[in-house]
Amino acid sequence: MNCQKFEQVVGDLARGRMMEADVRDGALAHSEECGLCAARLRDEGTLTRGLQLLAADMETLSAPPEMELKLREAFRQRQVVVPLATRSARPRYWWAAVAAVLLIAMTAAAMWWRSATPQQQLAREETPKQVDAPKQDQVPNRPSEIAPKEAPLSADNFEPRRQLQTPKPTRRSTTPRQVPETQLANHVSNEIATDFMPLGDLNPAMIQDGGQIVRVRLGRSALIRFGLPVNMDRYNENMKADVLVGSDGLAHAIRFVQ
């Protein structure tokens, strides 16, 4: 055995770990021949004894006894709370589903109404121009009634309506993909952020008294811990994140910003 090989096994040798008998004998024989390796083995032995002392010193340490009581209490509360929470959660889901269906229906109706009666809307937009016009020229409310009047309108008349109507839809349609809610909430318009993810148990009471969002930089590898995909080519790069710091000074949630 030479010093390089000895170096590889000296740790296990000093720690008394299981190893092949011939390797062990070879290492011991080498340490008798080589003074430096003998000193290395002595050092490793001393370190091992120091670590064993530390381990023995901490052997008796344990969590305070009241923790068991707290955990039991939490366990009992959990046993009570969980069924109640699930029972009350069901109607809430139903209400959410009903609300969603209603919303979709209303949206569909509005879209249908828009596409079905462009003439009515045109007439409605043109009414300011006709402020000074006599009352009998005002546009009637019923689509069936305005249809005959709208028929002779030219394309020129139609253009201003499109300009008036389109600002909001065009802004949305020019974006390459639908803007997530979190992005809208973001103060910086060109940033994309994930939702806030709790760090540990996020207790709403902790952030009820206020807090602040702190912008930090951290390695992209942190994304993995939150189950988010990481581009391995940029694994070592940093990225921005917002940390929600509660009034107690602790970080309660984080979101990643791009």
Partner: protein, 214 residues
């Protein structure tokens, strides 16, 4: 009626960690207590050895068992033991806590306060005891000053006396990685613990290039 809890305790005493976890998840409080008593020491010591702070160790221990109550069903026996699972969870909590509290530069005040507390044991003479206490304190400081990825390997392999396989399970890395990190960690510890004068002596003796390759 009074023998009920005792009977239950003797029953849970014989059960494996897996069985206790299943019972706990089905709502058995005694199973939780038994599992806690069995595993809290290791979790607490791991957190303490990693952080050097009693308060963090207590918080982490509590968080680990609350996590077990909440999401114990994610434990997969095929991937390792309950003990390894708990230490893995504890590791994540400790690292998160250290990251958040910027405690990666270690040595909490508690330990500095504890330094003055010296308890002589009965079977050693005072001087030996003092040396022993000093050694322990030095080693503790050296371990806490290691970077987290080396510290956790030292804590698990050396202080918790776990095998490379168990450590690799907890850390979620290869056994070879554990070995190499431990090797590097021990070298760092030696460099931290070696007295300055001995290094100077060694350098003056010209030992740097004297390694033989015979």
């Amino acid at each position: 009626m009074t023998s009920g809890p005792n009977l239950q305790m003797t029953q849970t005493n014989d059960l494996s960690d897996n069985d206790l976890l299943c019972l706990m998840l089905s709502g058995d409080e005694e199973a939780l207590a038994q599992l806690y008593r069995r595993r809290q020491g290791g979790v607490y010591r791991f957190a303490l050895q990693m952080s050097g702070s009693k308060s963090i160790a207590e918080d982490v221990t509590q968080e680990v068992f609350l996590f077990l109550m909440r999401e114990g069903q994610v434990f997969d026996p095929a991937r390792g033991s309950v003990g390894a699972f708990l230490l893995g969870v504890a590791r994540n909590y400790v690292l998160r806590r250290l990251r958040v509290e910027h405690l990666l530069s270690p040595l909490a005040d508690e330990h500095e306060e504890d330094q003055g507390v010296f308890q002589a044991s009965a079977d050693l003479c005072p001087l030996e005891d003092l040396t022993r206490a000093e050694t322990i304190e030095n080693v503790r400081k050296a371990v806490l000053s290691l970077p987290a990825k080396y510290r956790e390997v030292v804590v698990l392999c050396e202080l918790q006396d776990m095998s490379y396989v168990e450590t690799a399970e907890i850390l979620g890395c290869a056994i070879g990685t554990v070995r190499s990190r431990l090797h590097r960690a021990r070298a760092l510890l030696l460099s931290k613990l070696r007295p300055v004068e001995s290094v100077a002596d060694a350098e003056s003796a010209g030992v740097k290039s004297a390694r033989c390759f015979a």
